[in-house]
């Protein structure tokens, strides 16, 4: 994105005050590969089926096996990231293992109960009143005929329902804050969720392939007002859903580098959907970005199908700490690999992760 475009888009000037050097590092687990399985849609628009993350080694070591199964089942049932559910269980009660009041019986000082610490209307027992969310969101998850707040098989899907009603999966930060009103809590849950996420399920590496131009150049990206080269639309959908990002640019006839990939529909600018710039960092690292190659766009290390990753350390790009005013709009830029072509024309071939059934 050019400076002029950035200034026009934002209408606000950012002044970077400095972020520690360590802030560029992200501890979130990196994934080994990704693939998008596409299904033919009636309109011809591909519909990816997004795979969930497998549990990481940390998750398997830390979470009891029956809890892992319950978190994953509830995540699948309610369309949530199971790792966030598991992280809530970790922070609340260490997956039901904490020897604290209210975990296996009774209530804690705020009237919360069970492995997921639901308020059950017990009132304030000395440190606040957790209310009675269980009355609304409690569920009989295992079909045994009761809704038992102390039974993980009921409490975990109940927590999933509560998070979903509070904004997840669109805004996990808001949903987690609703679960327990503290920013330390949100940060801790997100940290554990990152540790628990392993590789994307069913995602063999190295599936990128060259896709020839088949006569259809630009196609809309569902859920956005943007268009990209049709061959990368499934990848873009995977990208924004997997990393919870918002697309701010794809094809653009002007306002970007004329010889870059935006005029070809083969580049995206993305920002975090919820303001958590750790998400763009995770995506950048996933596609090969690191601090030591940032100044060159990490072209030599970019993971297929991506050609360059423009983020922190590349002029005009990066998070708010690295994209300084005036005229810099914070974002992550990814360009897809492609055959050379003139601006505003479709590339003869494009490298994409996905396969498209038409």
């Amino acid at each position: 994105m050019t400076s002029a475009t950035a200034a026009r888009d934002r209408g606000a000037a950012w002044l970077v005050l400095g972020l520690g050097g360590g802030a560029a590092a992200l501890t979130a687990a990196l994934l080994l590969g990704a693939a998008v399985v596409l299904m033919a849609a009636g309109t011809g628009a591909p519909a990816p089926a997004f795979a969930a993350n497998e549990p990481s080694a940390t998750a398997l070591a830390d979470i009891p096996a029956d809890y892992v199964a319950l978190y994953r089942r509830a995540g699948e049932q309610y369309g949530l990231d199971w790792a966030v559910l598991a992280a809530v269980g970790k922070v609340e009660t260490d997956h039901g293992r904490a020897a604290l009041p209210g975990v296996r019986s009774g209530v804690n000082c705020a009237g919360a109960a069970g492995p997921m610490q639901f308020g059950i209307g017990a009132g304030n027992h000395g440190c606040g009143d957790a209310g009675n969310a269980w009355a609304v969101y409690g569920t009989d998850g295992d079909g045994d005929g009761d809704r038992d707040v102390y039974d993980a098989a009921d409490a975990i899907p109940g927590a999933a329902r509560y998070l979903q009603a509070s904004g997840a999966p669109d805004d996990y930060r808001r949903a987690i804050f609703a679960y327990n009103h503290a920013d330390w809590y949100v940060a801790r849950v997100l940290d554990w969720a990152a540790r628990y996420r392993g590789a994307v399920a069913g995602a063999p590496a190295g599936q990128a392939q060259r896709l020839p131009f088949d006569g259809r150049w630009l196609a809309p990206v569902p859920g956005t007002a943007m268009q990209c080269d049709a061959r990368i639309v499934p990848d873009v959908r995977f990208l924004i859903e997997r990393f919870s990002l918002r697309l701010t640019a794809c094809f653009a006839a002007s306002g970007h580098e004329p010889l870059g990939e935006h005029p070809l529909g083969l580049a995206v600018d993305v920002v975090p959907a919820d303001g958590d710039w750790g998400r763009t960092m995770e995506a950048a690292r996933f596609f090969g970005w690191s601090t030591d190659c940032a100044a060159t766009g990490c072209a030599a290390r970019a993971r297929a199908p991506i050609r360059v990753v423009l983020y922190n350390g590349y002029p005009g790009h990066g998070d708010p700490a690295h994209c300084a005013a005036p005229g810099c709009s914070a974002h992550l830029h990814l360009s897809w690999s492609h055959a050379l072509t003139a601006p505003l024309t479709p590339a003869p071939w494009v490298v994409a992760l996905s396969t498209i059934e038409t």
């Binding site: 992200l26 804690n108 705020a110 919360a112 610490q117 327990n180 009103h181 330390w184 949100v186 940060a187």
Partner: protein
Amino acid sequence: VARRFAAAYARWDAGEHGADLARSLARTATPQLLARVQAQQARPSVRPARPLRLTVNAVSHDAENAYRVPLALDGPPASHVVTLVVTSTVNGTRVTSVER
């Protein structure tokens, strides 16, 4: 103002609710925001809360003559936590809202 608010807010967020800290918040926040922050009660969790190490990493000046100040965790992971909205009031410059 944002830095002083962030330092006090992080401690309050972690459960330190003393009078001195409330006064620190009151010197940097509007009464309305202070009331909202004080109304937020976190449940205890299995491990004690620790104050977040928040760092002011940028300032933007918007059209309404307010400043938006994103706070991030100091150190990895470098994730955005909240954005403060800071404006000039009759009592001086104050944080008026905390956006997530």
